[in-house]
Symmetry: D2
Subunit: 366 residues, 4 copies
């Protein structure tokens, strides 16, 4: 397919909706390529076919952006993990860019080079050290063909702002997301102030990702928007929430749930939860809408399907999905045929099949 000439900012400035991709590390853990606890992305080198396939699923589901599989791929984190002995961070970063690029070009997607929080930051909070880590990653990305940057999964606005400052030296567009709750970052800085700090550092797009469910994340992005408005600043808004229900969570998000990270199944969003989320995010003025951990291809497809009118088209993978379950209308059981409609799925309260389990847990940070 011919590459679109328009970049991410051009599209957002034109009022277009950008559908983001879903979560890589949690899904690749389940597929057998990422180690939980460390969550490092060496699979980009070790098992490129697995990474490529997951990128492709998101592309088919309608993602306009593929993020490089470079989560936690700073030198300090890789070393700490002890997980990657004969592969360098540079190798992973470069391989990841190639993988994302190749799949993106199977369609019309953009590639975002991604950096995330560093262990170093908490150790010494040294601007020079942390920025040098981001600079190294950035330089590796710039050897490859990426379209813009995303600095994601930051718990501290300060570190996120440093990342943005480094990435802006490239001259490329920079998005920045924080994994924070409506209460603010881990220093207690409210979401509105975080957003202001990020935009002042140079971010073109700001928002939240991971750690909390769509309801909480939309609330946080709204607070960011209000903060920007009050400061007289402007930026595009993005959101990539957790694909799990986390109504009990506080500051540290789903990490604090007893189910993290190996028993989150019961909490997983259905595709219908995602329809609701996509609509609410859109109505909140957010125009970059994707997912993080727990968002699989069919969740991204649900974003694309909910917003098909606003966007003007359905994604390739909708060839294999009847809108609102329409393909059930030929089922042999009448009671299944009755489910081939929006009303059924929109009102369903799904049962857990686990009568001995509670419906809410006590977070460890309470």
């Amino acid at each position: 397919m011919q590459r679109s000439k328009r970049d991410i900012l051009e599209r957002l400035n034109a009022g277009e909706l950008i559908v983001g991709d879903g979560g890589m590390v949690l899904q690749l853990e389940r597929r057998g390529y990422v180690k939980a606890g460390q969550w490092t992305p060496e699979a980009a080198v070790e098992h490129p076919e697995a990474v490529r396939q997951l990128h492709r699923e998101f592309l088919r589901a309608g993602a306009d952006v593929l993020q490089t599989f470079t989560f936690y791929c700073s030198e300090d984190k890789l070393e700490l993990s002890g997980n990657v002995t004969n592969i360098t961070g540079a190798q992973i970063n470069e391989a990841a860019c190639d993988l994302a690029r190749a799949v993106a070009d199977e369609g019309d997607a953009l590639v975002a080079g991604c950096v995330s929080q560093t262990p170093c930051y908490l150790e010494n909070r040294s601007e020079a050290v942390v920025k040098s880590l981001f600079k190294k990653q950035m330089q590796e990305f710039l050897k490859k063909d990426i379209d813009f940057f995303i600095a994601e999964f930051f718990r501290y606005a300060e570190e996120a702002a440093w990342a943005v400052e480094v990435l802006k030296t490239s001259g490329k567009t920079v998005g920045a997301t924080m994994c924070i709750s409506p209460h603010g970052d881990m220093d207690g800085l409210p979401p509105g102030d975080c957003a202001v700090r990020l935009v002042k550092a140079g971010a073109d797009i700001v928002g939240v990702n991971c750690h909390l469910d769509p309801t909480a994340c939309i609330q946080t992005v709204k607070l960011m928007r209000e903060g920007l408005n009050q400061a007289g600043l402007k930026a595009h808004l993005m959101i990539q929430p957790l694909g799990c229900h986390t109504p009990e969570c506080n500051l540290t998000g789903y990490i604090s749930l007893p189910e993290y990270p190996f028993a989150l199944e019961c909490r997983t969003l259905t595709r219908w939860d995602v329809h609701k989320y996509a609509r609410e995010a859109y109505e909140a003025g957010i125009r970059y809408i994707g997912g993080c951990c727990g968002f699989e291809a069919y969740h991204i497809r649900a974003i694309s399907e909910e917003l098909r009118t606003e966007r003007g088209f359905l994604p390739p993978a909708s060839d294999k999905h009847g809108l609102w379950g329409a393909a059930l209308d030929m089922h042999t059981k009448p009671w299944v045929r009755a489910r081939a409609c929006r009303e059924y799925w929109e009102h369903l309260l799904p049962a857990s099949g686990r009568p001995k389990c509670p419906s809410m847990a006590k977070p460890a940070d309470e």
Copy 2:
């Protein structure tokens, strides 16, 4: 890797544990390659890379057998589905054999050619018509390099027995699984009698698959075993249950649940549920232990990990998984480190995060 010379029966006769693979159609639906409601396997031709990757995940998770992606691939079903217009059943069956074979040979796995229930059977219950459908599929498989056959997902012992009779004409080993509950098949034939019928038809391995959770499936296989014992017959036992909790289900299994097929997330087994299942199945004397819809690679890995001592080795994907969560022991949060042990996960009662949802539903067939 050098192909093992020993076939499935040789291994089972020697008392070896065979780890089966997981579910293809439900997972490929989520990845965007299979249409729910029809569930036909045209992706083997349309998107071979997606099928190949899923096979590979199961292989890495420890599967000793890869089943061809040929579910519902009889001519009558394909036609009914209206889903496959310019691809023939023969093309799919043959492509699927090649895909499974190629991935199986990346390790040391066997390939099972699979047939399943036909819409024809219920229309007229004509032995000649139904057998001719199975014969056609078998001949397509025999053009390729498969190791043995599995006739799976049968609701009627009669149709399953017909499939077995056809497949036995190949001279190859035949396994047969039914998607029935402890109450028996849809004609009311108890599991013990179903098993007797299948073994008399020539099945070397009998058991159940799909439709019900591990607890129900183990109970059904035990009833099959008792039936065989009482009839003085012998056969190996296999099990490939649903990867969802279905405590409310009756005869028709999870099809009757309100959550079928688009809101089953809350019911999904955790890997720890699978440890329990694998142990119980093993203790029930079952030696072919796998999964069906809902079983992803990490569920199959959990079978391999639970039975690592009995089997003598861990699968490749365990390189990316600490046993019982051991890899969490380096986490920065002390409360997450405390989860790096068997006791934690074995006793966890996971919350759904959905306080407005019930824990059990009313099946549609009640």
Copy 3:
């Protein structure tokens, strides 16, 4: 009020519905007059006003029978309990008869003298010893003005039959209820055989009480009825189930639940659950319908209200209750007014307000 001349058998033989009373010990425990664990009825002597008031509530709710407050009032049980030091069993039995009689005569109710299982039985299973205990209690009752006898809360058909045999020597009508599940008594005797044994011993009315919820109790009484039919015997059927939901329970009933006896609140039936129960019991041919532990006055009133047409009248306490919530139609909040109808309450799935609690427990006898 003038006493009706017709006794219990006359009424039942005429096809009349008899509404039983509710549970005394659990309710008087909550009111501060009975000690849980021992459950002995010394309050009949110590606090007659409290017993009288509870009888009166059941009378006003429509009870046609008041059972004497003589549960566990055999000499051996009283002694074991260590709970009653300066009061004799005879004093309690006699006081209890007077209390029930006086309140019954405020309306048109009958008084049933009640005996229940004895600790002695399990110690030695001596017919002579156990029968002498029942004989002593019976003689005390016969000094007073009671209308008929009920032998209740028996776990063994043998002991229940002995009680019936003793009580029949009085020449009075005898009802007998067992606290058993559909699986049968603690010796494994099925409900049908239990019923046959009781009727052969002389019981005019047979059924179940306590230990399990309405659903299970109705099932057990149906099995009793079938047993009697098959044996060519006839008896009236009665039922006085537990006022709690016990779907997980087995042989030993709610005693085995973790919540017994001090955390049963969440399991308590609503009045609407009782409407459903009363209808189902009636449709099962049961004509003596009451309750046991957990049934308060408003539950008994719900029986009376559900079966008001069959019975021809509403009870006095319905002056203070709009049928199906009708009295809410003048509420100031529109959303409460909308609840003034049958449809609302019949379909309500009440929430527990306890998201950290499970919906089912593991019984201790599993």
Copy 4:
């Protein structure tokens, strides 16, 4: 028993704990004497024995104060209810005083004359009209022997303050409770400001009652305390929460729950929930601790038992209750004996036995 000479203020000033009584109307509705929807107290005249018995249960459970059964007993409310045709408000108010007094004197309890919100207030917000209603009630109370006043169940601080101003003209001690959430009264006045207003109006004791569960009510009283502190005012604090779990509730409290008022059983506090509540209320500095709707005698006994050391004695009804279930230690089942301890009950998560029901509802005022 000899009447204590010390009045309520004397006791509170001396730092004594005052145990309040429980809820009358909800309990008498269940017993068949009060009509839900109207909730008027005509039973004081129609069925004095029922009111007397409930007072007595609270007294035996340790209540230091018996509130007159005069809820909603203003002329305008009685007329609106249409429930009381041949009895005057004066008759009810006077009969209720006599009943409370007589039972209080069976022990050493005080009698509080109670007034509550009037329908008039919302109609016209006329100070003169509303005050005249309270004045009439007060004069009826003053004909009888009451110890102090409580103005309770006010949703608006303004109306509550008017009630206090009227009652203070009697020269007696006045307590005032509002049925508000931590968000404040229905005019949006925060709890701290409500408390200030009440104390300035003359209230000696302020706090909350009804509508919300202990957790929410403690939070509201704390906010009242802070408000008083900031204003440099002093008052004793009281609390009489709802006996149901209401985690989802907002401003209008349990009225907005779908279960109100006829399906609240699942939400009812256990005695162990009350232990926790009593401790937390005490630690929050509240010294008048009782309950409202849903608090039965055994809940009040649990307050008395939790705070037995602080108070120096156990109530009469504890003769029929082993502390923390101690009386179970002689049970015949070992698994029940194991429950005769604090640890068991403190950690129990009680199951609802209702797997088809949710654990949280959507309030109607959301």
